[in-house]
Amino acid sequence: MNQPKTVKKLKFYPNKCDGCLKCERACSQVHFKTDEGGKKSAIRIIKEGKSYKMNVCDQRGLCLDMCPVGALYRRKNGTVWLDKDICIGCQACVGFCPIGAMRKSDVRIEPFKCISCGACVRACPTNALELEESKIEEIKEVVYHKHGV
């Protein structure tokens, strides 16, 4: 099967961000049809001192090998995708994500994540977000720990 070679992932410019959280609201609109943002958003902007940092999936795909039912896979465009119709809500991917970017909202058992749709980029009034293309080979990571390491 032809596998995607590249993937778009979010890049954040903290100096441009003013913490308006319009990105989060746009994201929760995509995932839950609400503009609550916060826990229903796959992208989170967190205040750190006087600046901001972003927490979002970086498409490394470490969760792909965790899924027992094959609900997680790379789509043709390379993004790591969670098919909630297949997902059985085990939270293995949520628990094992090293950066906490696979999220679970209280409204449903299946987790959700950034799908690189660009809604947040479009919603950002200060251009602090951008979708950047990366080579999957360079960013991919696997979850398994070698024996004795």
Binding site: M1, L64, V69, G70, I86, Q91, V142
Partner: protein, 773 residues
């Protein structure tokens, strides 16, 4: 092989493909009888009904699960005990018409958020022990049985010809069909039936089917196990977990069941309809994170499964080598988990139920079979787990490839690796002493280390070889002992004390000689010497945390009760203490892993909507544990005489064993028995063995006294009517039975302590009728 992020479609095992005419196999099936039902919703962990099938009367019916049943028996193994109590007689034996095979799940079974939540519990009267045997097994069957509408499956009677039972949760139909053409051995029939009964020709559809089977070995021995499948969408094979102990697979084949197939319509993260799904996801995710961060520094389950124990047991002199004579061996590093790690397929979710990130079900794919009927084929081998590797250490097999071969054939023949390995090790020791020889062993040179001979024995046994030795040997150590004694081929004491069985069941794979508490952990059990009730060796021997009889008795109360709880709920024990919170050592009682106990309190409340405490969890277990012991008493198998263990599990039987630990034993003779060092030096090994024997037998009896007292049983080990009433298990018929046995024991003078107490030592109480108060 490239590791990681391989798409499911592209994943290859390298196994030999099969060419079967599945249509022909399916067409040969004839529906004998069927039953339609309406699949209801599971409510807070319970389907609220059980399924009863009588293969003799061709009857299928539903039974209701009452609130009283939940209160008294919780679920899982508890439900199994209740159903058996209502169906069997005290005289029922494994092959009796009325004997049942019960498969249950439990209220928490099928949860996907908390690791280790997919266990089935199997119960039946065992051929090995003539009493109830319960096994806890992984695979998809238990959860699927519940999501197809049933908290338990009860099978009574025997079919006239080979059949398969189909529980179709998609259509709401139970069918019993003839099954003339499919294979019997597990790795083949499970694959055939998974393909035949999946709704669509896709891996996702096949994942919704689970098959229980046993193989030709189960048919032709008393070591039969049940193989529970879980279809692996990456490997594209149904993998298996075993309900191994006590010969339940033998009962299965005696009933002429070739397989049981369950098919589920759909599963989701909340198929159990839990009371509080948010809480469940919260505690489950917390445990996933602990496993992610700590497993590699603790047990390394995700990399090598339970096989990580091999090197630890070897290091602590606890790995059973050459029939438990030794606890370590010069060649043992050849079968350390590092060796199997080279064979294991990596970076695959290896849980035996969805969401288990302990992922201990390690697998070797594309393994080339070297002997027997499948010689030359490449297959998937499930395992080896610790017990299988250690069983090979017991047989002195130190070649990983041979361990895998033994593992593969035990699984596909449907025989328990533990009983098979332990029994063969006993035969090998008898071979070494000349009590057995090639002539007496059907022409097979069954000496230690001869893996060719071990496999030849297994292949001939599975074929149903009628040779006297093979017929006797395949019924296990107890029957081999009787046979050797009848033939007058060896010393009675040596034969009895070397053969590692108690209650008729072979020991699992730990050397217990230097841990009195663990001797109790094996001997003072319900089904026989299996470490699933208590594993106290480190607490007792290494950390000296339970020095007195009272301490040991407390541990032999708490841990069996705690571990019983997993079986009542359809859970696996491993995520309780094979992963521990980082600060567990600072907890008040680290051995109990209090933070995880609290997880389970919250877990049961989150599913059922109850409001239980950790004490309530123990109470749930105590009810069922005492009930099972009471049923054992009723069947003539639950008193002090039945808690006998062979001396090989207590101390050195032979001179070579004494010599291998001479310093330890000599020191003990001085420090514990009060002998003078000079005298000990002059004594010959035989006399030293005798002194030690007397001492350790007495220690075991004193431990038994303390444990019976702690459990609230009579000094002869019978659960008392008072205890049963206190627990709310006040069935008048059972109370009457127990009173009858207590009165009988009284008349026979058996209600007395077993230990010899001198002036300095005291029995648990002077009042032998303490339990009446």
């Amino acid at each position: 092989m490239v590791e990681g992020q391989i798409t499911i479609e592209d994943y290859k095992t390298g196994n030999t493909p099969h060419k079967w005419d599945l249509n022909k196999i399916k067409k040969a099936h004839k529906t004998l009888y069927e039953y339609s039902y309406k699949n209801g919703n599971v409510d807070r962990g319970y389907a609220n009904r059980t399924l009863y099938i009588n293969l003799s009367d061709k009857q299928i019916k539903e039974k209701k699960v009452t609130e009283d049943m939940k209160k008294k028996f919780t679920g899982g193994r508890g439900f199994g005990l209740k159903l058996l109590w209502e169906s069997i007689k005290s005289s029922t034996r494994w092959n009796s018409e009325e004997n049942e095979l019960v498969i249950t799940n439990g209220p928490l079974c099928g949860t996907t958020q908390y690791p280790g939540s997919g266990k089935s519990l199997c119960l039946s009267v065992s051929p090995a022990t003539d009493t109830i045997c319960d096994c806890n097994v992984g695979g998809f069957f238990g959860p699927y049985l519940k999501f197809s509408g049933f908290d338990a499956l009860e099978i009574q009677g025997k079919a006239a010809e080979d059949i398969v039972i189909i529980i179709d949760g998609e259509q709401g139909k139970i069918k019993v069909e003839t099954a003339p053409l499919e294979e019997t051995n597990t790795h083949l029939i499970n694959e055939q039936l998974t393909h035949i009964y999946s709704t669509e020709d896709s891996d996702k559809s096949r994942q919704k089917v689970s098959v229980v089977s046993a193989g030709k070995g189960a048919e032709n021995s008393w070591w039969g196990c049940l193989n529970f499948s879980f279809y692996d969408i990456r490997r594209k094979v149904p993998r298996v977990k075993q309900a191994g102990r006590g010969g339940l697979g033998t009962v299965f084949r005696d009933k002429k069941i070739k397989a049981i197939v369950v098919k589920v319509e759909n599963i989701t993260g909340d198929s159990n309809n839990p009371a509080d799904p948010i809480k469940l996801a919260e505690i489950g995710t917390k445990l996933h994170r602990e496993i992610r961060d700590l497993d590699r520094y603790q047990c390394n389950m995700r990399a090598v499964g339970t096989a990580h124990l091999v090197e630890i047991m070897d290091e602590y002199d606890l790995l059973p080598c050459e029939n438990y004579r030794f606890g370590s061996f010069p060649k043992s590093s050849k079968i350390y988990s590092t060796e199997f790690y080279k064979y294991f397929t990596k970076i695959i979710p290896d849980g035996c139920w969805h969401g288990c990130t302990m992922a201990c079900s390690k697998t070797v794919d594309g393994f080339s079979v070297k002997t027997g009927p499948y010689k030359g084929q490449k297959v998937t081998v499930d395992g080896p787990e610790y017990e299988t590797v250690a069983a090979c250490a017991n047989m002195s097999i130190w070649d990983p490839e041979r361990v895998l071969e033994f593992n593969f054939y035990c699984d596909t023949y449907g025989i328990d690796t533990i009983s098979t390995g332990t029994a063969i090790a006993f035969i090998q020791e008898m071979f070494e002493y000349g009590i057995l020889n090639k002539d007496r062993c059907a022409g097979i040179e069954l000496c230690f280390g001869n893996s060719d001979a071990v496999l030849e024995f297994m292949h001939r046994m599975a074929k149903g070889d009628k040779d006297e030795f093979i017929q006797v040997a395949s019924k296990g150590i107890k029957r081999i002992k009787d046979w050797l004694l009848k033939k007058k081929w060896g010393d009675k004491w040596l034969i009895n004390e070397c053969g590692m069985e108690s209650k008729g069941l072979e020991y699992s794979e730990y050397v217990t000689k230097e841990s009195l508490a663990m001797q109790g952990g094996y001997g003072l059990t319900l089904k026989g010497p299996q470490h699933d009730e208590a594993w106290l060796i480190f607490m007792d021997m290494v950390n000296n945390a339970i020095p007195t009889f009272q301490d040991k008795a407390e541990a032999l109360h708490y841990f069996p009760m705690w571990r019983t709880w997993f079986g009542l709920n359809g859970l696996c024990k491993l995520p309780w203490n094979d992963i521990e919170p980082a600060n567990n050592a600072e907890a008040s009682e680290p051995a109990k892993v209090p933070e995880h106990v609290q997880n389970y309190v919250e877990y049961q409340n989150a599913v059922t909507g109850w409001n239980v405490t950790k004490e309530d969890l123990i109470l749930q277990s105590e009810r069922c544990y005492n009930w099972q012991r009471a049923m054992n008493v009723w069947m003539g198998r639950g008193r002090r005489k039945d808690d006998w263990i062979p001396y090989r599990s207590m101390g050195p039987v032979t001179e070579v064993e004494y010599t291998s630990r001479k310093d330890r034993y000599d020191k003990l003779l001085v420090e514990k028995l009060g002998l003078k060092e000079k005298d000990v030096e002059k004594m010959n090994v035989k006399s030293k063995i005798k002194e030690l024997y007397e001492y350790r037998q007495d220690q075991y009896q004193k431990l038994t006294d303390a444990v019976y007292h702690r459990r609230g049983w009579t000094p002869n080990g019978v659960p008392t009517p008072m205890k049963m009433k206190e627990l709310g298990m006040d069935d008048p018929q059972m109370i009457e039975i127990l009173q009858k046995y207590i009165d009988e024991d009284d008349k026979a003078g058996l209600n007395v302590w077993g230990g010899r107490y001198d002036k300095k030592e005291k029995p648990p109480t002077e009042d032998l009728k303490y339990w009446q108060k």
